[in-house]
């Protein structure tokens, strides 16, 4: 099977042991097969002679031989387990790690597209299936096939016509097994995909638990989940139905064959064409062969499930990374921090229209630029292009006149740090979260100083009130923090990265006015000398910036100071002109009918 051949690189280190395991498995089944031969000999020899000869010596020898073979069988089974199990788990672990590393490498665009549950089910369920197949399925398959082949050969060689009768039974079995495989594979794929979707639904139902609770939609979520789980159940039933047919056939056909063989055998024995001992041995051997034939249905479906798992796994592992490091990366020793977007067009893979349309924007080293535009105008998208979390569709993003695609990602992201609008924190201490992107190779005191400064700038003194201060675990497995607290930690993290270029995506939206003011005061000092791009929705955030760029319909339509733009740019006025300012200027509670800031848009009376 070609899909399983792809396992080779992962299985290679384990291959000698796997092969040894198969050999041991074969030896075990040979020992098992030999036992009936010995029994035949003893039945034909000393026992057929019976009481007349009373050959106890021969009987004792046979008993010893069967005992020896029996122990050998058990020993080989133990050896097989020993050889196969460890490598099986290692193959699984290697593949799991490889998938994980690949997923971490794959660009954000990939993760936008793929549901979490589908990735998780590949990493856990699918690789679990594969492990069990490697440890149980594969040896069983090898042993079964060999047992059947060797057993049938023995039956043919020793059984003559009876062997041929048995062989005839193998033909429909093979045909049925083959047809079963084809049908089963399709259903198995569907079932594993549906399991992944179900995992996604579970994940979302927990991540969105607040929304479901706030709207009292737990019941509806349960109904939707039930429908989905029931679809999976029906798929599984279809699978069982296929399996039922093949199990029926694989049980009845060998038994029928034996029935025919019995009649033929008795007739032959009556005619003296075959000895009674040979007849007994034939059925003893046939019994050994029949067991794996009956189990073949199970072994086959296990193999087919494993194959589907491998297909699904490689589907993700084979996804090429479109956002890679250059073959010969340029190195910037100590970048000035000039950032330029030159004729940048950006379109999401599956979207018809470009979000950014021939954007030109320069961020001179050491200056702070606010990016202002309506919600959904592409500000965040533009911001994500600088650390190269997405690649431009056309044009280029330059850092010190070097295309960011010519820099190693690791280096680029050392120079550029981001605070996202939705502040992602991890299950780790405050310290680890804040120092996530801190420069490498700092000594502990320097790291502590960095931590203290970043927390101070972000006005995150609240961390000192946590049960274990900066060592308190936060994030999902720890304490939950408020939106404002998380945002401040995310900001501290970006600051602690000590970047040349700082990208802040609406970094103060969840802060109250007093805190915002305090953060801004300190932030302004930090930003001095750092090139910054600040996505801003409010004048108070814009106040951080030396100049403002206006993004409208995917283009930069104006660049200037806040006051210039306020005077000259109607769109800017529309976007940023402040309700608060209006409210403040006109007094609270007097919702008078003042003119709208931009013609035809709003009357807020």
């Amino acid at each position: 099977m070609s899909a399983l051949a792809r396992l080779y690189p992962f299985a290679r280190p384990a291959l000698p042991r796997l092969v040894a395991g198969m050999v041991a498995a074969l030896c075990a089944s040979l020992a098992a097969l030999a036992i009936p031969r010995v029994l035949e000999r003893v039945v034909n020899g000393p026992l057929a002679a019976g009481a007349a000869e009373h050959d106890t010596g021969a009987l004792a020898g046979a008993v010893a031989l069967v005992a020896g073979l029996g122990l050998l069988e058990a020993m080989f089974i133990a050896v097989r387990r020993g050889f196969v199990m460890l490598p099986g788990t290692h193959v699984e672990a290697r593949m799991r790690d490889a998938l994980y590393r690949h997923l971490l490498e794959l660009p954000v665009a990939f993760h936008d597209r793929w549901a979490g549950g589908q990735l998780l089910s590949r990493s856990m369920s699918d690789l679990g299936l594969l492990r069990r197949w490697l440890v149980f399925g594969l040896p069983t398959l090898v042993v079964s096939t060999t047992t059947i082949l060797v057993g049938v050969s023995i039956l043919i060689v020793t059984g003559g016509v009876l062997g041929l009768v048995y062989l005839a039974g193998a033909i429909p079995v093979t045909v049925i097994a083959f047809r079963f495989s084809r049908r089963f594979r399709a259903i198995s794929r569907l079932s594993q995909d549906q399991s992944g979707d179900l995992a996604t639904t579970v994940e979302e139902s927990v991540h969105g638990i607040r929304v479901l609770k706030a709207f009292g939609r737990g019941r509806d979520a349960l109904d939707a989940f039930t429908d989905q789980a029931d679809r999976l159940r029906r798929t599984e039933m279809a699978k069982a139905s296929t399996q039922s047919t093949v199990t029926s056939a694989l049980t009845a056909i060998p038994e029928l064959t034996l029935g025919v063989a019995l009649v033929v055998g008795v007739v032959q024995a009556a005619n003296g064409q075959i000895s009674v001992g040979a007849l007994v041995a034939f059925f003893a051997t046939a019994a050994v062969v029949n067991t794996p034939v009956v189990d073949l249905g199970m072994t086959l479906s296990m193999t087919l499930n494993a194959r589907t798992a491998v297909d699904r796994y490689f589907e993700v592992l084979d996804t090429p990374n479109t956002l890679t490091d250059p073959a010969a990366p340029t190195h910037l020793d100590s970048p000035r921090g000039d950032v330029e977007l030159r004729d940048v067009t950006f379109r999401y893979d599956d979207a018809p229209d470009a979000v950014l349309d021939h954007v030109d924007l320069t961020l001179p080293a050491g200056t702070t630029t606010a990016l202002v535009g309506l919600t959904g105008s592409g500000k965040s998208t533009l911001a994500m292009l600088v650390p190269r979390l997405y690649d431009v569709t056309d044009g280029s993003v330059l850092l010190d006149d070097v295309d960011v695609r010519d820099l190693a990602r690791h280096e680029l992201r050392t120079h550029v740090a981001v605070a996202f609008e939705d502040s992602t924190l991890f299950s780790a201490s405050v310290r680890d979260n804040v120092l996530l992107g801190a420069p490498e190779g700092l000594d502990p005191p320097a790291r502590e100083a960095l931590l203290a400064e970043a927390l101070d700038v972000a006005q995150a003194a609240f961390v000192h009130d946590l049960p274990h201060g900066v060592d308190t675990t936060i994030g999902e497995e720890g304490l939950s923090l408020s939106g404002g607290q998380r945002q401040r930690l995310a900001l501290a993290r970006a600051i602690a990265a000590r970047p040349r270029v700082l990208v802040l995506d609406d970094p103060l939206s969840a802060l109250d006015v007093a805190t915002e003011e305090a953060v801004e005061k300190r932030l302004r000092q930090v930003l001095a000398g750092t090139t910054s791009l600040v996505v801003a929705h409010r004048p108070s955030t814009v106040a951080l910036a030396d100049r403002v760029a206006v993004l409208q319909d995917g283009r930069i339509t104006a660049v200037g100071t806040h006051h210039d733009l306020l005077t000259h740019d109607p769109h800017y006025r529309h976007v940023i002109s402040n309700l608060e300012a209006d409210a403040a200027a006109h007094g609270l509670g007097e919702h008078d009918d003042e003119p709208a800031p931009a013609p035809g848009r709003t009357e807020h009376a």
Partner: protein, 623 residues
């Protein structure tokens, strides 16, 4: 794990893990593998009770499946007997020219084979029906329980662990039901029939078999004790792996932006190795158990051969009978490996069920009333009646809050971070229950209201607007399932979301992708606002629900709010003065107390008032 979708308990107060977890019930001690005797017994019993409950409901179906397997096994066991009959009876008869016994044996063999085949096929189907019904049942129970449990629970249990219960733990049970359960019934019956057959054929050989059961039982007992601990460890390791995976993939942007790929992959590799080692240990145990059973089986065959052989030599037994005895003995031990495998998956599933049953045992701290008070039409009058509240064992956030909000009033709450504003919002929405005092809606304690009624009356919109995968339409319709397209559009229009939705590739049918990847934070907030508009509650609680909106968007929302809030109660928490402008009343909070209360104009006019101060600062910042 992204924490963006987790609102905080409060602005500055930090809830510690719920105290309920220090008890021995539920998910407490979930990560331990080595349990004390008593605890072990409790946990095992709980796990077995759950399995019994799941299977008990399907007693009839199980009995039916057992009948099928009996028929099939009888058909298969008949084989050796018929072979023995063929060799010992039909052969001599045929030699004497009588073919009738052979014909009878042949026909019986064919019938037995057909019966065995048909019955086993039907059994596979019946067993799958049971297994799938059990899995569906358990999936639903876990899902329902997850939705039922309070936020307090979710805040410490993590989404990854729930996912792990629903995926990898259920897989373990599935494995048992798929292979194991079907296997064990047929194996046990097969062995019973074979043993009975052997006893009938030759009691002496039957005794040999009976003696062989003793070491097998001892071996199994040893395996059970050891494997229980190992399987528990494997469940824990698997859950840790899943938790880490989910968290990292949710926050993959931050991982990449801060160059943590290799460090994180390293951490993950450690967890992978833990899980691998745990699996290897269970395999290793199994690798001793299985061959042990084979040895016992083979030794029994040897003893049967020796005992029987001697008797044949002494003329006390026919060769044909001995052949059958040996066949039976060999067949008896045929399924023993399968039985071992079953026991193995039973142990694995038990460990998984221990975790699942623990989760199912948890009681929500915010509980549904036994005898809910009716609330046909909420007016929306709120009364926080001397409310005291603190998160878990943490410090008290609200020492004694007494607040009346008449129906239809729009209240803005301002105050510094940590003043307790969000806490008030969460108590009103009953995300948490008060420690003392009561929250009353139209005079009824919210704890006495059915959640269905309460949620229809009170809706809360938070800063973190979560979108589910699916279309824009489905996401808005979450506010009121079954809403028409016109109603959905009206809601979107009211908050100013209609235009951008129309600009999306498929309008309202656009898939918002994973976690709304393609929708900006501001747009997410608009959509979640549209939900609230559609839900049309008597009380609307907005906790920083407009923080990511641009100003024109916020203006539209304010405008929409003015219409929407005209006839309903609202609590608005905002850091921005602009929101306060639409309020009838402003509450300034500090340290869990209301320090100022009045109309916006009154408060602005208050000399040295906090609000007046804030207002002045705002004015200054806008100048």
């Amino acid at each position: 794990m992204s924490t963006r979708d987790r609102t905080a308990a409060t602005d500055a107060t930090v809830p510690t893990a719920p105290t309920a977890h220090t008890s021995q019930r539920g998910v407490a001690g979930e990560e331990d593998s080595q349990l004390g005797r008593d605890r072990n017994r409790v946990v095992r019993a709980r796990s077995r009770a759950l399995l019994g409950d799941l299977l008990g409901a399907r007693r009839k179906a199980l009995a039916g499946a057992a009948v099928l397997v009996v028929v099939s096994t009888a058909g298969q066991v008949a084989g050796p007997a018929l072979i023995a009959a063929g060799i010992d009876r039909a052969l001599p008869a045929l030699r004497d020219g009588d073919a009738a016994p052979l014909v009878v044996v042949g026909v019986l063999y064919v019938l037995a084979a057909l019966a065995a085949g048909i019955a086993i096929g039907a059994y596979v189907r019946a067993a799958a029906r049971i297994a799938q019904a059990v899995l569906l049942d358990l999936r639903r129970r876990v899902f329902r329980q997850t939705q039922r449990l309070s936020l307090e629970f979710h805040e410490s249990y993590t989404s990854g662990r729930i996912i792990s219960r629903q995926t990898s733990d259920l897989d373990a049970l599935r494995e048992l039901l798929d292979g194991g359960l079907t296997g064990v019934v047929s194996s046990v019956l097969f062995m019973t029939f074979t043993a009975v057959g052997l006893f009938l054929l030759d009691p002496t050989s039957g005794l040999v078999l009976a003696v062989a059961v003793v070491p097998a039982a001892l071996l199994t007992r040893w395996f059970q004790k050891r494997s229980q601990v190992f399987y528990r460890a494997s469940r824990v390791a698997s859950a840790r792996l899943i938790v880490h995976f989910v968290e990292t993939m949710t926050g993959v942007r931050a991982v990449q932006a801060f160059r943590r790929e290799s460090a994180d992959a390293h951490t993950y590799a450690g967890l992978t190795e833990d899980y691998r080692a745990a699996n290897a240990r269970t395999f290793g145990l199994n690798g001793r158990y299985d061959p042990g059973l084979v040895v016992i089986g083979n030794v029994t065959v040897v003893v049967a051969l020796a005992v029987g052989g001697w008797r044949v030599l002494d003329g006390a037994m026919d060769v044909g009978v001995l052949a059958a005895v040996l066949l039976y003995t060999k067949r008896f031990f045929g399924p023993i490996q399968q039985l071992g495998m079953f026991y193995n998956s039973f142990q694995s599933a038990s460990a998984a069920l221990e975790k699942i049953s623990g989760l199912l045992e948890e009681e929500p701290t915010v509980a549904e009333p036994h005898d809910p008070a009716p609330l046909p039409d909420a007016r929306g009058a709120l009364h926080l009646d001397h409310v005291r509240f603190g998160y878990g064992t943490g410090r008290t956030v609200l020492p004694d809050l007494d607040l009346q909000i008449p129906a239809g009033q729009t209240v803005a709450m301002v105050g510094t971070t940590g003043a307790g504003k969000s806490t008030v919002a969460k108590l009103v929405a009953r995300f948490y229950d008060v420690s003392a005092g009561a929250v009353r809606l139209d005079g009824t304690d919210v704890r006495d209201l059915a959640s269905r009624d309460l949620r229809r009356a009170v809706v809360m919109v938070t800063q973190e607007a979560y979108l589910f995968s699916g279309t824009v339409r489905e996401n808005i319709a979450l506010g009121r399932p079954g809403a028409t397209q016109a109603e959905i559009e009206a809601a979107a229009r009211a908050v100013g979301a209609h235009e951008f939705v129309l600009r999306m590739p498929d309008g309202y049918d656009t898939d918002v992708n994973k976690r709304g990847g393609r929708v900006s934070a501001g747009q997410r907030q608009l959509l979640s606002f549209a939900r609230a508009f559609l839900a049309d509650p008597a009380v609307l609680v907005l906790d920083e629900a407009t923080s990511s909106l641009d100003l024109p968007g916020e203006r539209l929302v304010q405008e929409g709010l003015r219409t929407l809030l005209a006839d309903r109660t609202a609590i608005i928490i905002a850091h921005r003065l602009s929101t306060v402008a639409i309020a009838d009343r402003v509450l300034v909070m500090a340290d869990g107390r209301i320090v100022e209360d009045g109309t916006p104009d009154e408060l602005v006019a208050t000399e040295d008032g906090r609000f007046a101060e804030l207002h002045a600062a705002w004015q200054a910042s806008m100048a």
